[in-house]
Symmetry: none
Subunit: 376 residues, 2 copies
DNA sequence: TCGTCGCTTGAATCCTAGC
DNA sequence: AGCTAGGATTCAAGCGACG
């Protein structure tokens, strides 16, 4: 055993494994031995900068993330925190270690730039596509339906861990992509406090951590989470036979996490549970047919026997006989029927022949083959 | 017309619309009139950290050594380029203008942070999820199956354009999410040079620009693309009846783009028109319903299920359960809600049926349209 | 036991014309 | 510029009540 390896083995022995450390993550990370951690997973505050209340159309109030820990004086203050905790994290990592950070557009660009500035080497950015996001209630922006994760090695030369085959098998034999469809954490998995309210405003789903840890750590690795919260990282690490170190400032979160972790049992080594992605026929909006130029705005569609016709508009709606709306709505209106399947009702003309538009939907679906993970 | 408006109208007249300008985008943008552009779509170079091969805007090469220190020099040079073109873009935008930038993990974090630093206000980050990405051949990372776009208004107070209904219509009646599934540009859409090779390495699909322009511009808007390439932005703008300005340094790209644009035809105006937002419809005071005798003073209105009722008064106010006020105020008071849309809340009785009063507003609006629209 | 219906909820930078 | 009032705005899941 070389001197360096001896040193690391000693360091590892002195690590407070499988515990939750109380306090400020920068101070605590700086008190742990240098170069001793395999992977860091971090879910830092997002600096959401929310203004007033937000009401749903039914006048109920959205429970906002207005906690003290997400309040910052401005970008400068947020950047200072980011620099500090990333530097401490970098010091802790083994040379071949890696880091994951999750965030939203409020903070992720600043975090990503600082990762690069400190010499981390980005492997991928990964999109967590939420199958059930909260909608945009006022119709003023797009539904914020994803969050972004950055996966980066400690340096360009790091021999990082990447379990290609494991991820491929998680994805039904197809190479894992950089966009992951996973539901938000709710239902039985969502931890509640004694009053029955959610114990933490931003608990992450275990499925997300499952994929991260299966893909970029090995059993026995040390995984550190500096913003531990209610301990999703620790819970999944324990199930998967990885050691964890959690750091959390808030006592209430630590208590919930301790209780949670005490109930977790490690999977037996053979039975590494794989989250099966469900297959479903993806819904194809007619608008995609227009966007992709398969039909042009202004082009005419015909019902069977050409009894009715309608014109395609740029936003994927139809206009026919003064009726505007979706392919289904306009078909139903023209037929005086309560409903209508526009995909089979409407036809377009090519070289004198009438072709059902459903052909175009089938083409789009064929192109989407190979996407495996989808909302159920 | 105010002085400011005059100035802008003059500026618009002097804009080189529907042309491709040759040269460095920063210089050219700075030569155009301030506050004259509605939307900027930018696909800046990604050539970052490819072992230091970084080109300055004037095409000179940044000297690179492959040690770690130089990485920072590489980032610094790229950041300088980003600051320069974003500042020039910001100057060009109208106060209510907006910008889209597309990039990958190599550059998008630096661009996003700089956007925020300059005072742009991010509305959404949008994921272009490629339905047919290039696989990762060596199995060393995840398949890089997406790119990131940032949509930002010029400032927090900008009244940006967002065609919510049009995008919802493109998505078949469900509000548009921040993740967009669109195939990469290939097949017939992919432009080839005389040798049959692809004319541009990163030609963007027209479907992507279609969604961007339908969603965040109106017909007649001025759309500028400072990294025009082979002109996808211009092509889609022309089809959709928007004016464009392209800036491109490379003559070979300009030539391909000119040829492409000359073949594009604008869709007819009926096809370009998109679904209108309700907010855009003229306001109808409830008093008009009473004045026109559609409802009589003294007539009773009912909430759904007849849980509450109120009486119409001659001045167009309601009185119910001792509360007097507008249809909205009385509805809100009776429900104990902070607000209420009286048009959808209240119903009147005709032949035993409950009919929402919004029907009456629609009748008035239809009559108003008849007054306004004349044969042209 | 099973399906249906209604209620609740989720990291959200969520209104605007007119006075 | 600040205030007031009109009135526009939601998707997917989970869970409990109910028949």
């Amino acid at each position: 055993m070389t001197k360096i390896k001896e040193k690391r083995a000693a360091a590892a022995c002195s690590l407070p494994l499988n515990q939750i450390l109380a306090g400020d993550c920068v101070e605590i990370m700086n008190s742990l031995p240098e170069g001793s951690v395999d992977l860091i997973f971090a879910d830092p505050p997002y600096n959401l900068q929310l203004r007033g209340d937000l009401l749903r159309p039914d006048n109920s109030r959205v429970d906002a993330v207005d906690d003290e820990w997400d309040q910052f004086a401005g970008y400068a203050a947020y950047d200072q925190l980011t620099r500090d905790w990333l530097a401490a994290a970098r010091r802790l990592l083994k040379p071949n270690g890696a880091i994951w950070v999750i965030g939203s557009y409020h903070n992720i660009f600043r975090v990503g730039a600082e990762l690069q500035n400190q010499g981390f080497w980005i492997m991928n950015d990964v999109i967590w596509r939420k199958s059930n996001p909260m909608p945009n209630f006022r119709g003023k922006r797009l539904t914020n339906a994803h969050e972004t994760l950055i996966w980066a090695a400690k340096s360009e030369n790091s021999k990082y861990t990447f379990n290609y085959e494991a991820l491929k098998s998680l994805n039904e034999g197809v190479q894992m992509r950089s966009d992951w469809v996973i539901p938000i954490c709710n239902g039985g998995e969502r931890l509640k406090d004694d009053q029955g309210d959610k114990a933490h405003p931003t608990q992450k789903p275990e499925a997300l951590l499952h994929r991260v840890l299966v893909g970029t750590t090995n059993p026995g690795d040390v995984v550190l989470d500096p913003f531990f919260g209610t301990g999703t990282t620790g819970a999944v690490a324990k199930m998967l036979g990885r050691d964890f170190i959690g750091i959390e400032r808030e006592e209430s979160y630590r208590k919930v996490a301790e209780k949670r972790l005490s109930r977790i049992r490690r999977f037996d080594s053979e039975a590494i549970a794989t989250t099966k992605a469900k297959r479903a026929e993806p819904r194809v909006p007619f608008g995609q047919v227009v966007e992709r130029g398969m039909l042009r705005p202004g082009e005419e569609l015909f019902s069977i026997g050409s009894r009715h016709k309608a014109k395609v508009r740029a936003d994927g709606s139809l206009i026919g006989n003064d009726v505007k709306g979706s392919i289904h709505q306009v078909g139903a209106a023209l037929e005086g029927a309560p409903s209508c399947n526009g995909w089979t009702y409407w036809h377009f003309r090519r070289e004198g022949k009438m072709i059902p538009i459903d052909i175009l939907r089938q083409q789009i679906r064929a192109e989407m083959e190979g996407e495996v993970s989808r909302p159920s």
